[in-house]
């Protein structure tokens, strides 16, 4: 039985379809990653889970409670850490946590105890009584995270929590998330950082264009690729025609699969080679026969980026670069304002 069930969720902003019949299930006590490039629909999904926006269609259940029909009850169960850190810069960190405690109806004795515990856990002693306006990005994020944890939520929802953070703050947050998960909290972590999801997530979904394109544990998804990932270049900058020809050569070799032409990396050829077979010698022979020389050949363990590449034909970085020019952040910000 899943702790969180998302069924066929759809959401559009005027002419943009942010989510398209998206479904997923999250087990209790797991750290669940949502991976995808900017603009994939992660933040929309997170905002629906946090009860900030309503979907156009579909259902969400947390603890078997319908999120859309009982949003107030759901708010008692969840803690939310938004992508954009919104602190009141006039208040001190402690005042902000005190304020947040009152919004969650925590009684006076418990709130002092909870605030102090979080100050200790997130190592905020030295600066918690300074005004939020003087904080660095890492400090702000730690206070924001503490605010989301004050009422001991069953589910913690984090939208890109480590974007732009210093290493110290990131490590403190990662450690806290691991501890919370080990203590039974269900954590939903949206990120476009591969290593973050790879290191922290028990399970994950990869979202692209508002749809789930892959889901499972990080190792399951990587193992599905079947072997080591190899990137081949015959020239520093090749072309489509040449790349397609090499692709044909590779597809004739037994043990080579999942061949992808990566246009953004100078038409390099990305493929999976069967670990059991010595394919490199055969590859060189076949290429030489067709009068191609190897310019570069790199072999690596499959990563989540390879999983994404396999599903979409582009790397996460390429997807982000291509999205960067298309998004109107000002318009999106206005649309997300109440």
């Amino acid at each position: 039985m899943n702790h969180i069930e998302v069924n066929e969720l759809s959401k559009s902003y005027s002419d943009i379809e942010a989510l398209k019949n998206l479904s997923l299930g999250i087990e209790a006590g797991t750290l669940f990653g949502i991976l995808g490039p900017n603009g994939a629909g992660k933040s929309t999904l997170i905002k629906i889970l946090a009860t900030l926006i309503e979907p156009d269609s579909g259902e969400v259940f947390i603890n078997n409670i319908n999120l859309i029909k009982n949003s107030r009850k759901i708010r008692e169960l969840i803690g939310y850490v938004a992508q954009d850190i919104a602190l009141d810069k006039i208040l001190t960190g402690r005042e902000l946590l005190d304020f947040q405690s009152d919004l969650y109806h925590i009684n006076k004795n418990k709130k002092i105890e909870r605030i102090q515990k979080l100050v200790d856990q997130l190592k905020m002693h030295d600066w918690i009584d300074r005004k939020c306006g003087t904080y660095s990005g890492g400090m702000k994020r730690r206070v924001d995270l503490a605010a989301g944890l004050l009422h001991l939520p069953q589910v913690l929802i984090l939208d890109e929590p480590t974007v732009g953070l210093d290493i110290e703050s990131r490590n403190i947050i990662w450690q806290l998330l691991k501890d919370l998960r080990n203590n039974g909290m269900t954590i939903i972590l949206s990120s476009h950082y591969l290593d973050e999801i790879d290191k922290l997530a028990d399970k994950l979904v990869i979202i692209d264009n508002g749809r789930v394109i892959a889901q499972g544990t990080p190792s399951q998804l990587k193992n599905k690729l079947g072997g080591d990932r190899i990137t081949l270049k015959v020239k520093e900058f090749s072309n489509q025609k040449e790349a397609e020809k090499i692709g044909q050569i590779l597809s004739s070799i037994d043990g080579i699969s999942q061949i992808i032409i990566n246009e953004s990396q100078g038409f390099s050829i990305n493929f999976v080679a069967d670990k059991e077979k010595d394919l490199l010698t055969k590859l060189k022979v076949e290429l030489a026969f067709s009068k191609f020389e190897i310019f570069s050949l790199t072999q690596s363990q499959p990563s989540l980026d390879d999983v994404y590449l396999q599903a979409t034909g582009k790397t996460l970085l390429d997807a982000e670069i291509s999205m960067a020019g298309k998004r109107d952040f000002k318009k999106e910000s206005k649309q997300s304002m109440r």
């Binding site: 009141d88 005042e95 919004l103 109440r338």
Partner: protein, 274 residues
């Protein structure tokens, strides 16, 4: 029953926290408070002096222009404060802080609106009292206890009326630039098109009509009457082109406007907050 008591306590807890936040902001950035006090005091000095040599009986029912002006400036101060009350909410919307409130399991999101009402009402009272004290020191009089009741009742109604409109604008307008621009456009013309600076008898006919329909006038006239030490709410307070209005009628019109505006903004606030 126990649940209802809890709900009431929670409503108090969250409203208190939200109001406290606004007062902490005010304490650490008191420029709004100081400007709100200084501006009408400067007006009181300048305008009071401007007509200091006006002949006796120049204005009906008062000894001096300063005496006449006091009520207008008290109302203008409360009005300006209430008109600006949407700004903190607009900034919370723009900077995402409102989402922090909306994700919390508030007993009622009405607490967000209530806190603004409490904050602006208290702020307006403080500013008005300072202006009343300065007026008194300048020799422009002081209302009796009954008059003070009229002053504060009128101010509460005006603050509720204008705050509800300002909060509504904070949700409807796209950003703080637009809200500030609208405040600039509304603020002074409404003051000049009221009986704050001159009685209707001094105005051209068209302006007299405007002034006698202006909500500020319905707040100014009862307060002006309160300064005459009267205990009679049936006294004519406003000689409008459409007829005479008593002090009681002015307060009732203001009350109706307040109820009307609160009724109108309720669906919008429900839609935006729920």
């Amino acid at each position: 029953m126990e649940l209802k008591q809890y709900n009431l306590f929670y409503l108090y807890q969250e409203t208190f926290a939200l109001t406290k936040r606004l007062f902490i902001q005010l304490q650490r950035r008191p420029s709004t408070l100081l400007a709100g006090i200084l501006q009408p005091i400067i007006w009181l000095f300048l305008f009071g002096s401007l007509f200091s040599k006006a002949p006796e009986g120049f204005l009906p029912g008062v000894d001096s222009y300063g005496n006449f002006l006091g009520a207008g400036l008290i109302v203008f101060t409360a009005f300006s404060g209430a008109l600006n009350s949407g700004l903190p909410l607009m900034f919370d919307r723009e900077f995402g802080f409102l989402n922090r409130l909306l994700v919390a399991p508030l007993t009622s999101r009405l607490s967000i609106v209530l806190s603004s009402f409490f904050y602006i009402t208290i702020l307006s009272f403080v500013q008005s009292i300072v202006i009343m004290i300065v007026s008194y020191i300048l020799g422009y009089g002081w209302p009796n206890l009954y008059g003070l009741g009229i002053v504060f009742t009128t101010l509460i109604l005006l603050v509720l009326f204008v705050t509800s409109i300002s909060l509504c604008l904070a949700f409807v307008l796209p950003g703080h630039i637009e809200l500030i621009a609208l405040i600039f456009v509304i603020n002074l013309p409404l003051l000049f098109a009221s009986t704050a600076l001159a009685p209707i008898s001094f105005m051209p006919n068209w302006l007299g009509w405007l002034a006698s329909l202006n909500p500020l006038t319905f707040a100014i006239e009862p307060i002006r009457t309160a300064y005459t030490q009267t205990m009679d709410l049936e006294l004519v307070a406003l000689h409008a082109p459409y007829g005479d209005l008593t002090c009681k009628s002015c307060i009732l019109i203001l009350f109706s406007l307040t109820v009307f505006s609160l009724t109108i903004i309720r669906p919008l606030l429900n839609r935006k907050l729920n």
